[in-house]
Symmetry: C2
Subunit: 259 residues, 2 copies
């Protein structure tokens, strides 16, 4: 592993055909694809990619941040063009800059924004099927907004974390949780900003919000669920297809909703 100049890049990807972001033996992953491309550009020298966060199979990104050390002197512009040329069309490097050696994509992240898309139509839309979860039952926006209010703030999110979460401390802050509804297309776009999200946290939140939306639960239950601190009290883990990492923040004041 060579030590070289450090670069920071913004990575968009369609996660449909990947086994998630992180390298795994014998699996096709985003990190694996990026490292393969970088090794080619680095004449065979292995380059380790560090992402701001892991995303699961099927989860997308418009704003994943990575850093890596490239072993040779290279112009960021040329490196970005080279990486786009060497990676599959499912991945786009939309920005690439030189950064100080002290920058770390994961350790220095102060917050993230995720979106989750649902299409609330009678039938699944063939054009949205990989990017938006299909929920056919009528959804009540006022109830969902009431539930989102109860989720906002600093809470112990144990009830909304996978039991496989390896984080001891389950206290996180959601700065902003909102939903925009396009009545014409039936699309609901949920957006969450926070200082960090536990494993599967947004998918479990969505699984629970859909129960609130279609009347299987009342919005007030969110407070009870949080208080219980047990995974079984919340709803199911929603499908990965609607989830997208939108942005990573390295300064607290940049996070929408942070005061």
């Amino acid at each position: 592993m060579a030590k070289g100049l450090r670069y920071k890049a913004v990575i968009m990807y369609d996660g449909t055909q990947f086994s998630g972001f992180q390298v795994q033996p014998d699996q096709r992953t985003v990190q694996g694809e990026l490292e393969r491309a970088l090794a080619e550009l680095a004449k065979g020298v292995k380059v380790r990619v560090h992402g701001a966060g892991r995303t699961d199979a099927g989860v997308h990104s418009r704003g994943q941040i990575i850093h890596f050390d490239f072993p040779f002197e290279i112009d960021p512009e040329g490196l970005m063009i080279g990486m786009n040329a060497k990676t599959t069309a499912e991945i786009t490097i939309s920005n690439l800059i030189r950064v100080d050696d002290s920058f770390h994509a994961r350790y220095m992240a102060k917050g993230k924004k995720y979106s989750y898309r649902v299409h609330n139509n009678r039938f699944k839309d063939p054009f949205l099927r990989h990017y938006s979860y299909h929920h056919r039952y009528p959804m009540n926006k006022a109830k969902v907004e009431h539930a989102l209010e109860r989720l906002t703030g600093t809470h112990d999110f144990t009830s909304f974390a996978s039991t496989h979460s390896d984080k001891e401390d389950k206290i996180r802050t959601i700065y902003k949780a909102s939903v925009e509804v396009n009545e014409e297309t039936g699309e609901w776009i949920f957006t969450f900003t926070g200082n960090g999200f536990l494993y599967n946290m947004i998918r479990i939140i969505i699984g629970t919000l859909l129960q609130v939306a279609d009347g299987r639960r009342e919005p007030e239950e969110i407070t009870t669920i949080i208080a219980k601190k047990e995974r079984e009290s919340a709803g199911p883990t929603a499908s990965p297809v609607g989830l997208c990492m939108e942005e990573v923040y390295y300064t607290l004041k940049d996070i929408p909703g942070f005061e």
Copy 2:
């Protein structure tokens, strides 16, 4: 082939993984998939599907119209639900009604609307790659609109037809040709309505319009190209990925731009 009650349906499909609409031996096609589903629902009786138009491999639809004769008495609502259940997620039957036996999806069509999407960004967008053609060179909207005006109306479109077109009469009317540009996302959505389109006509029009858009040709050349009546005078056939059949009209006065 049983004679039964006639049904008309609206079919949406993501054409990415299909070898086009029309049945072909050993190929995965939309018509083949619909006929397979209908045969299952008809207890093994073969049901022939007639589409309003053929679409090539990679071309999409939000409004393809089909008709077919179903051998048994069946409620349209139940048939629609059954077809959606039996077909792949790439296909959605969004509407289905009983029609008179005299209805024919292709012969009675009076016009069609197609869209063609282009994203004019620096890098290909991973989320648009199957639904929008990527063109990286700066595009001039005023020039494109000038060219679209010259295409509108009744012309001999020989120059804009594939040499494999089997239609003798190459005279067609474009009632309306327009483009909408989203400056924020870089998306250009072209829309064409007409009384009929020759084989590859819209893709050749787009291949030529992109040359006008980025300055390789002047908009005035459209008139010369039409007059020449030879395929070589127009631009290349643009990729199928941006093309989508949007609507089929069975009454002239329903066609946008028809007076």
